[in-house]
Symmetry: C2
Subunit: 189 residues, 2 copies
């Protein structure tokens, strides 16, 4: 049985990103990623079903989002619930130390159609997860779907601003601002 | 020079769908699709960059959507503009003769992760096209993005209802109803 490897997904992600930057996504193999990370191929496939998935964390973000929505205060309205989940994501995933890395990751994804397709599918997955988690809180079906779409849009706007600015803006703060803007805009459609 | 082939994209689509249903997407080649359609491989690649794209019409829907938004009455608000575009799509693409075919197409896409990824990317492309076309009409940036997201959600809801019911419901009618529902739901987020 394989030895447990601490932080294997993170090490594989860092190695993959470096290689994709150096020689391109198409010209990098899973074996090269595992060699750079000092891990084995079987460790890679224990964490990720294919080469692309190493950039997408195999569903970790979906889990954080679900937990954040479940943990929101009982009285919070639908978009306010999403704001609580985005706070949690800012604390646990989009920390200031991750900013530069996230910008590099986005730049690599933008260069390759296969990666853009995977990212698009992930986005739909996140919206579906948000919708489900909101329905579990008793939000009516269609309101949950609309909230998830608006929440995902605010998330994207906040993420772009967070990633592309060299400032000290906190992700959770940017997310709350984007949610307020999206809510106001939805009233003028 | 290749002879002009009438309705080549449509013939390739019909042949591809039959073959994907009979033997699966993975087990069908582009050559088999072209043989079934009575066309050549070069005709296929003149219309579609790869095997998957034959199910997605190579951007035809994006064109219809842009035109529909451009052609909406000058005084129409953002979501009303999208309603006009969806009317046009109902008249030109989602006609009642296409209903059964669309349901078969959706069923094939659902069976294959590569096709689902392409569909996800197409959805983002349609949202981006809607956003652009709305901005060209002078709709402010963020309102255009929100309108496009809500419009795409209404579109999806209307499409699912249209595709899955054996009734005589007209796509444009279903789209107007879904837009009204989405608008109402967005006020309760």
């Amino acid at each position: 049985m394989a030895r447990w490897q601490p932080h294997a997904p993170e090490r594989l992600l860092v190695a993959a990103l470096e290689l994709f930057e150096e020689r391109g996504y198409e010209n990098t193999t899973v074996v090269e990623i595992t060699e750079r990370a000092g891990l084995t191929k079987s460790t890679f496939f224990r964490h990720f079903p294919d080469k692309r998935e190493v950039l997408f964390g195999g569903g970790a973000m979906t889990g954080l989002l679900r937990e954040g929505i479940e943990a929101a205060p009982a009285g919070a309205g639908p978009l306010e619930t999403v704001a609580h989940a985005l706070d949690a994501i800012g604390r646990q995933a989009f920390t200031s130390e991750r900013r530069e890395f996230s910008a590099r990751r986005s730049a690599v994804i933008a260069t390759n159609p296969e990666l853009r397709e995977r990212e698009a599918l992930k986005e739909l997955g996140l919206i579906a997860a948000m919708t489900d988690a909101l329905k579990h809180r008793g939000v009516p079906d269609l309101t949950a779907r609309v909230t998830a779409e608006l929440g995902a849009l605010a998330w994207k706007i906040a993420y772009e601003r967070w990633r592309d600015t060299s400032g000290r803006a906190d992700f959770a703060e940017l997310a709350r601002r984007a949610l307020a803007e999206v809510r106001a805009a939805s009233a003028s459609c």
